[in-house]
Amino acid sequence: MSTIAAQPPLAPHDTDELAELVRTHPRPLEPVGGGSKRAIGRPVAADLLDLSAFTGIVAYEPDELVLTARAATPLATLEQALAAHGQRFAFEPPDFGSLLGAERAQTIGGVLACNLAGSRRIAGGAARDHFLGFEAVSGRGERFKAGGKVVKNVTGYDLPKLMAGSWGTLAVLTEVTLRVAPVPETERTLLVQADTPARALEILTLAMNSSCDVSSAAYDPWQGAALRLEGFDASVTARLTALLELLGNAETETLAHDRSRALWIKHAGAHALADWAIVWRISVPPSHAPAVLASLEPERYVLDWAGGLIFAAYANLDPARVRGALREGHATLIKAPVAARATTCSFQPPPASLAAAFDRIKAAFDPNHRLNPRRLD
């Protein structure tokens, strides 16, 4: 909000100060790590809570496949530390910087709070699937922890799942523990010509239902279908051969490691839609994609997640058209001017029975709406 610039910065130095602020600050708070996703969702009428003191790696044990970091540690810092040991986050956090024009880098806490995963979602899981444990301050200003720091744990409710995708409306994450994974020896991408979404879906489904272990499957009508293979070099070569055989005489092109990586960074971040004013991110059952696209009639789109994720771009906002196109799934307005976001629900409005359950969950953590009020409404 424009009023924020006039406020003195609220930047707690440690968790106790943070808890005290959440308990006593006279107005609601908008927790911010890197600020890269502030342009998503309803603009929040709250004072900015700067978490930049909560940075740094707390523990990283490559052969335990576990990393613990303070929540506002820049994602890039962690990715560098992981790369030094041949590891990464398997859910491939997407960078929407080119889409949203964010000036600051995203943080691991933000990635988890928004449960954002990239193209590898279909094989590597979502951010929530790699989120093992956390420490946080609830909307009541209580310090608490949940989950654990080991890869296998079923002790108590899986609250990391609840934090993932809560967009900072339940608690302020201060420290997070994630599972990490080895970087594959190599990757290659097969581009396959496809003129229609229906043909693209055919190709994506054929590949996904094969034994070729495709880790990403996307479609850009300007570029064709894209199928990514990752793993040990010999294995990728064998699977590529099998995939080409499966596709028969379709027109294809193979991208080697570097070009493959570059392509998927762009895909996950929906770079192709950067110039559009309105962008929706829509999750549907993959087989619904062609029909949903037909009723969405986007001016530009790309598909990811084997057809299960649609990025749809428009010049003008028409929520009724988008919401009306879905038989199952959810649509998030991921890019829109601030005025439009103030009057439109960016997230999928839940049915009444679910909305009541969400309200009770919100009340369990933040009964007085201290954190990000109405952000998800």
């Binding site: 409710y157 609840l162 995708g165 809560s166 699977r239 993959p286």
Partner: protein, 496 residues
Amino acid sequence: MICLPEPDAEILARRGAILAGLSKLVAPGNVIDDALRLKAYETDALTAYRQPPLAVVLPESTAEVAAILRYAERERVNVVPRGAGTSLSGGAIPAADAIVVGLGKFNRILDIDYANRCVVAQSGVTNLALSHAVADRGFYYAPDPSSQIACTIGGNVAENSGGVHCLKYGLTTNNVLGLELVTPDGEVLRLGGKHLDSGHYDLLGLTVGSEGLIGIVTEVTVRILKRPQTARALLIAFPSVEEAGATVAAIIASGIIPSGMEMMDRPAIHAAEAFVHAGYPLDAEALLIVELDGPAVEVDLLIERVTAIAAAHDASSCRASQSEQERLAFWAGRKAAFPAVGRLSPDYYCMDGTIPRRELPKVLRAISDMSARFGLRVANVFHAGDGNLHPLILYDANVGEELEKAEQFGQEILKLCVDVGGVLTGEHGVGLEKRDLMTYQFGPTDLEIQHRVKRAFDADLRFNPGKVYPALSRCAELGREHVHAGTERFPGVPRF
């Protein structure tokens, strides 16, 4: 000694009326009230504890479940959900004043959808039936808890079940796409579906692993995977646990995630070999089974790499399976480890902590010391890849205080797991068994917040009372009738 909340005398006094009320909600014969048949529901796989419920009701539809839960809410009756009753932590053990809602009749697969690579099933379908339903097209459902022949997908959801392959393929929570959940007030919630990620608070993720505390799952959508082209296993023996542990760390550090990586200590090796004659080396202090799956060319390559890593860590022997028959033979001893240990002793008690793997030698030494102190033998099997330890404590319930000693021994092991940075349970759940240890892992505020989450669904705490969270004012001792080896529940169900 574990206990349940004191039963509500007023509810017990109204038993007749409650039975009559339930009978109006389901088809004739679907309310069980006679003592003999109720006995079948008095425990689960934590057989040391027994308590018949007030009644068992067997609904046949989601609408019936909702009607039962609305009735239970109105009558203020406690509810214990039950799938196959294979919980190792007492998650399905009834309370005297509770009705058990059995999901046995929810046994239909509703939709096999290859285009979206998922299966929709009622919650009483067994884990293995899901894989069987899609086997002809080369698909399977990945999580494979050892009781998969008997356990239900609804129970897997409640416990967030694992299995030997979860290092590579994840737990239940990573493989469930959608749920139908009936909440304690009888509301039917549809969570997730055939699409990915929930778009708001992840109630799907919250429900998985909630141990029957926030509602009854009636329908589950799971993702299915294409079965890997091939799988091979390595059987690697070590002169010390330290070297075996270092090998596991080196395999993972080299960028290999095996589909399974299991460790056994000397007592477990000997017990298994005596039972199934798998050809395990009896002079080893630790044995590793490493399974690799995928395209043949990849599996062969990784077999070579793991063999080299084992050699560099002073493995005393290393055999790679040359046939599917040999691979299964390598596994036979591991999969028979529980019954094999059961032959050494009238009773055994299986623990389930997770530790950071680097702490393994220290933890095993401490367990060995405890074993001497308690005068009870112990054999250790270990999901080595993810640090999930299963010490099997041997005891004889008919001898003096051995059961109490075994329980104390188990509690000390689990506290040690927490002390070294691990957790109380990796895959069996807290249930009744580990409830009173929750305060050891979590602080009062941590537990209060989890309680608030429960109350968001179950405001008057009627669902699976006495489980997971230690908030008891009054306590009733459970029956301790004990069943000995050979007559345990589900004798045909493998345990590993």
